[in-house]
Symmetry: C2
Subunit: 279 residues, 2 copies
Amino acid sequence: MNSKYAPIGVFDSGVGGLTVAKEIMRQLPNERIVYFGDTARVPYGGKSKETITKYTKQIIRFLQTYDVKAIAIACGTVSACSLEEVEKELDIPIIGVLKPGSEVAVDKTKNKRIGVIATESSIHSGMYQKYIQEIDHQIQVFAKACPLFVPLVEEGLWEDPVTTEIARRYLQELKEQDIDTLILGCTHYPLLIKTIGDVMGDDVTLVNLAYETAADLKKLLESRGLLNVAATEDYEVNYRFFVSDVADKFRSFAESILSDVKFSTDTPFITKQINIEAF
Amino acid sequence: MNSKYAPIGVFDSGVGGLTVAKEIMRQLPNERIVYFGDTARVPYGGKSKETITKYTKQIIRFLQTYDVKAIAIACGTVSACSLEEVEKELDIPIIGVLKPGSEVAVDKTKNKRIGVIATESSIHSGMYQKYIQEIDHQIQVFAKACPLFVPLVEEGLWEDPVTTEIARRYLQELKEQDIDTLILGCTHYPLLIKTIGDVMGDDVTLVNLAYETAADLKKLLESRGLLNVAATEDYEVNYRFFVSDVADKFRSFAESILSDVKFSTDTPFITKQINIEAF
């Protein structure tokens, strides 16, 4: 068992997981983070379960070289396709984004009609339906893959007429199903929250995985006696970011997403490139 | 030296290279093809030169297990970023898409103003400018990265108002530069040729890498005595397709792109998944 001063491992196929990392920084301000973004093999959303699980195991082996005390999978696709398989083999706590998101959606819905938007591989896994119906089998789940959302986010078109038009097409069938709650099932999607909210209207509650996952991680660490409640003299909060390719591009994206986070040092984070295939 | 009955290796990061494979089938109807699409790591267009070259070397090692007599790089990004490095190490002919495309563009332009559209990594390499200005240093080259075109093609929006709007934005600055010739510098882009043509107007000649590369490959094989001019009794033309992930999805895309190719057998091609990282 690693000490409560050990860092938390957080990973994603790329930059989307930074929305989760940011929430962890906000809700768990004394925790160190080691972040990995698989920018050499991004995106995961159209890949097979076997390939995604292979990549996930390499990343977990890498994070364990930093003696992480827990791991947060900050990627909807990995949480849907690979969490069940990898958690069996791990002796530290690991958390995905699907379960926290599903629990909150079940709590919020009044008409028992929940929508889920995510990548193709996530929707294809059927895991959202499984989690939600395990809690309440009377709930109907309407799932829709939105493959262009990730490239649109990566291109910076967070609020743009083109993104609105694509969102209108993807979300039309969910609107017709009269859902009252919509899970943003991919960690890129919070960056589109204004566009998605405008299309869905005020009557639909949007569930943001980043917020819920950080809250659940906090509870999990508390229950295991692993939460670091206060910084000490010898301990400094730090954030390390690793990627498998194009570190400069990642860094500028990270700086934009994390721009309103208050860091305790002048050099809040370093970014390094590593060869993930070697793990 | 492999015999003229040996297959040609053709590869791409994914499905875009099928536009080149199709032209090879049409212009070199007696040639066998072994095609590889790196669907586990697609897209390459935003990745670094080092990573793209590493992936390219693995793919070439895989193709050589089929004793290919020549290799056609059916990917603009690999041709721009990695051809120069890998061709030094090879003892069979290898051809990319940039040089044939550049030569034709130089031949077509009258006002000596050529535009190039391609992925971020291709444009960043500066290789189009280099090839074109080596032929004629008076030509001005205007290059523009179009990162959303590949996801739009992969999503099937080949002719769609959203694609037209994105094309209008990307191409505006090239129109303002008064180019008379535009190289479609990514093998996905021929699938958008109608949209791009409509935006650019009739006065701009579009250069399609697929056609030119197949024509150049034919000349190259002829000059080396490697062209297979006629099928014999013991020899049957066949096409084998390999991918690193999601073979089913690749296959349905391939069937759509190759739908108007006439095959000589009832089962024109097989598709298999392999572990490319092992090569």
